[in-house]
């Protein structure tokens, strides 16, 4: 191998892109040619220095928020759900699971039965879209706190309801924060909880809005959605968490939520 050949291979070698068949010849050349060996060492040092010292910028929160809001505005009708789903695949590959599971929430206790097939429901789709959007644009929270007494007052004056914010950390569902979102063309409160690496979005709206004749529970494109009513509000619970744990979460959430609308 001559120096000219070695010149480009040095970079492929450095970047781990060299054809393994060419490695021995290049290594032999670098052992034999002091000039190429010195250049290679310099290039390797440069590459390492860049990786080490030059900052890789992260997108500012403001930009995420701007994109998230604009998408939310565009997707408000739920018609562009398919793109969101595709984005969900692209942006969060873990999030799209394979199974379609339908669970049903009885009015008092949270029970379930498995059905087959998907059930279309506009609001539920929007709930899932909201969930995906929150992950995709990384616009999970407007107010980030594990403290219910920080999250709850944040909604004051922003909505015509005061969402109950309960602490379920002891049960393994720590609070992450809250944000405003839009479902069925109405602003709703979104409360964000976590179960290990799974994000759980809880969308809270007044009972007369956004409920409709939606089934109490269903699965959409691998996300599990549960709905229940409590204290004059509708609760939509959406996550890629498995149905059993999500039902457990919903049951605990419902139990911890006061049954009457708190005077606000």
């Amino acid at each position: 191998m001559d120096c000219k050949e070695a010149q480009q291979l040095r970079h492929a070698y450095l970047d781990g892109e060299i054809d393994p068949g060419e490695t021995p010849a290049l290594e032999a050349h670098l052992r034999g040619c002091a000039e190429c060996a010195a250049l290679f060492r310099s290039e390797r040092a440069l590459s390492a220095a860049i990786k080490l010292e030059v900052p890789r910028l992260k997108a500012p929160d403001l930009l995420r928020a701007r994109i998230g809001r604009e998408l939310a505005r565009r997707e408000a009708g739920g018609r562009r759900f398919r793109e969101l789903r595709l984005l969900g695949v692209g942006w969060n590959p873990v999030a799209i699971a394979a199974s379609l599971v339908l669970a049903m929430v009885a009015s008092s206790a949270v029970t379930s039965s498995v059905m087959s097939g998907a059930q279309e429901d506009g609001v539920a789709q929007e709930v899932v879209a909201s969930h995906i959007r929150s992950l995709m644009a990384d616009h999970l929270t407007d107010v980030k706190s594990s403290d219910q007494h920080t999250v709850k007052p944040w909604f004051n004056g922003k909505l015509d309801l005061s969402p109950p914010v309960v602490d379920l950390a002891a049960a393994g569902f720590p609070l992450v924060g809250g944000r405003l979102d839009y479902i069925d063309r109405h602003p709703v409160a979104a409360l964000v909880y976590r179960r290990q690496q799974h994000v759980i979005n809880v969308l809270v709206s007044p009972e007369d809005k956004g409920g409709g004749a939606a089934p109490a529970a269903l699965a959409q494109h691998g996300y599990n959605v549960l709905r229940f009513a409590r204290g004059g509000m509708n609760f939509w619970v959406v996550s890629d968490l498995n149905p059993a744990e999500l039902r457990d979460f919903a049951a605990k959430l419902k139990e911890a939520t006061p049954d009457r609308t708190a005077p606000s």
């Binding site: 010149q7 480009q8 040095r10 970079h11 492929a12 970047d15 892109e17 310099s42 290039e43 440069l46 590459s47 220095a49 860049i50 990786k51 010292e53 030059v54 900052p55 890789r56 910028l57 992260k58 997108a59 500012p60 403001l62 930009l63 995420r64 701007r66 994109i67 604009e70 998408l71 565009r74 398919r82 793109e83 595709l86 984005l87 695949v89 692209g90 942006w91 969060n92 992950l135 995709m136 644009a137 990384d138």
Partner: protein, 170 residues
């Protein structure tokens, strides 16, 4: 969302301004989402970066001096690097006080040397060294054959190395 970080980082290094990078990325992302219907690439990340990259070029054509877009020859590139006005001056770097502060604190020289590279070399360095993309991904983003990726990368590193070593000797 790792894709958005990559998009923003690329746009920042191409426009050399945080504010401009935000505008370009927002536009490009929203446009990209709109066409997700017809999107067929197996690599959404590279696809998005290619859109952001094109948006940067379009944006610069509209907002910057045209000579910035011209692929520079070796000598021109060197004189550009040596021009201090270009390093801290008229387009981009000095506009944003926050960026300046960050630059002053960390890795000033290497940062500036990369920022001063001609665009076609700069984007390759950013995609390879900062985004750590594979050659075939860089080829997809930039829309050039892998052989061209390799020769531009070699050229970009040679330019950086020459300046870098000069700095270190001083």
């Amino acid at each position: 969302m790792p894709h958005l970080d990559a998009a923003y980082n690329l746009a920042y290094w191409m426009t050399r301004s945080r504010a401009d990078a935000q505008d370009v990325v927002q536009d490009a992302c929203l446009r990209a989402f709109k066409y997700f219907d017809t999107f067929a690439s197996e690599n959404p990340s590279a696809w998005l970066l290619s859109i952001v990259r094109r948006a940067c070029y379009t944006w610069m054509k509209r907002n910057r001096r045209p000579e910035e877009l011209v692929g520079l020859e070796d000598d021109a590139a060197e004189s550009e690097i040596e021009d201090p006005a270009l390093l801290m001056g008229s387009h981009g770097l000095a506009r944003d006080p926050e960026a300046l502060l960050v630059e002053a604190r960390q890795s000033k020289r290497l940062h500036q040397l990369i920022a001063a590279l001609p665009l076609e070399y700069r984007e390759i360095i950013v995609l390879r060294e900062l985004e750590e993309l594979a050659y075939r991904e860089i080829a997809e983003v930039v829309g050039i054959p892998i052989g061209t990726v390799m020769s531009r990368l070699a050229r970009a590193r040679a330019l950086l190395l020459r300046q870098w070593q000069r700095e270190q000797q001083e």
